[in-house]
Amino acid sequence: MPDKSLKYSCAVIILFTAFSCQFGCSANKYRQPISNFQTATAVVTADTRVALNELNHRQRLRVVQKHRQDNLELRISEIEASRLILPEDLNARLDALDRLNEYVDLLARIANSDAPENIARSATDLTGAISNLTGTINGLAGNSNANFKNAFGVAGTVISEILRFIAQQKIKEAVETAVLKGEKPINDLIDAIGNDLEVAFLVRKANLEIDRTDLLKKYNLEVVKNPRDEKLLDKLSEKILANEGALETLVDVNPRAALKAMAKAHTKLVLHAKGKSPASFEDAVEAIEIFAAAAKRLGDAVLKLKAQTA
């Protein structure tokens, strides 16, 4: 009864496709939120790199400028002593940031993997090739193989659907396992980066406040001179204004908010991987969106401050 078995097989395919979409397609739901998390993380890690690299650069600049201003002799040991962070300590941080980017990139690669489609396609191609081979062998024996080919075609579709489903499940599990395994190191890293950047922010703030005091001092000493240097006063007043602008922008460069949002987004992803409820997934998506917005604000502020203090 080939017709009956064909109908039965078709019903199996329809039911299986519906079932696999119900469960298997859930692997795809991670795509967009993880892509957003990846983009926002890239902004934060790039800003962290800039902030850490600039720490020593800015201190070096201050030492050289201070020596120049006070007409003091300058030695390389004095320039080197201006470092806030030693090269080996900086490298340890940059390596960890590389690893963090790698983690999020791999997570995104798994979530965006085409493996289920490719595996299903390869499985279909394989069953097609087996079907052809069987046809060739049957042809040698002089048998008609139309029914056999039909049945083989249906079985091939079922097999490729099953394999697609398995691959989708594997991807979903891989994302969840990766998120769970990354929980502790990522949270620690976010906390460490947050503290490092907060300290860098406090150094930047202290330096800008000292610059403000020094500029005002120079301006106030010059303005009472007779005759006074008008060009110098113009230059100083411009610098005072630029410094005030930088101090105002600095408030937005405090990375705490973006890093808190990052930690929260990651925690929500972990909670979803543990609990797997639709509500926890919605929470994770929302937290990732907040993180993405905070990272964008931070990135914009960093660029603005860079332009103001260039």
Binding site: Q59, R83, L84, I85, L86, D89, A92, R93, D95, A96, R99, L100, E102, Y103, L106, R109, I110, S113, A115, N118, I119, S122, A123, D125, L126, A129, N132, L133, T136, L140, L163, A167, K170, I171, A174, T177, A178, K181, G182, K184, P185, D188, L189, D191, A192, N195, D196, E198, V199, L202, V203, K205, A206, E209, I210, R212, T213, K217, N220, L221
Partner: protein, 116 residues
């Protein structure tokens, strides 16, 4: 590895000194350089700043281990993810290899025993 308590204290000290520095700088910025006490306050400010920078250096030095620990654990997690991706790619590759083999056998049989 969470932040060791001594580093937590160091961070609190840095925050406190930073607040103090801000207050001194604001006071200086609101004084004329010729006012009595200006030079002394400026000297104190420089002393506090040096202390602040000393603690900042110590803080960065002491927190490096947290990065080393996190980096090593993340490297392990990344390694596992890479293996998962490879396993998925291998699955597809295996099907493709078998298909190529079956197609070759099919072609071989057709060439040796033509039915047409």
């Amino acid at each position: 590895m969470t932040m060791p308590p001594q580093n937590e204290n160091l961070l609190d000290s840095i925050r406190m000194i930073s607040d103090g520095l801000s207050a001194i700088n604001y006071r200086l910025a609101d004084m004329l350089p010729t006012e009595p006490g200006y030079d002394e306050l400026e000297h104190q400010r420089n002393e506090v700043y040096n202390r602040f920078i000393f603690l900042v250096r110590k803080f960065y030095k002491d927190s490096t281990n947290r990065y080393i620990e996190a980096e090593s654990r993340l490297a392990k997690a990344n390694n596992e993810m890479t293996k998962t991706l490879e396993r998925l790619e291998n699955m597809q590759e295996t099907f493709d290899k078998i298909r190529r083999f079956v197609t070759a056998i099919d072609g071989f049989i057709s060439d040796i025993f033509p039915t047409g």
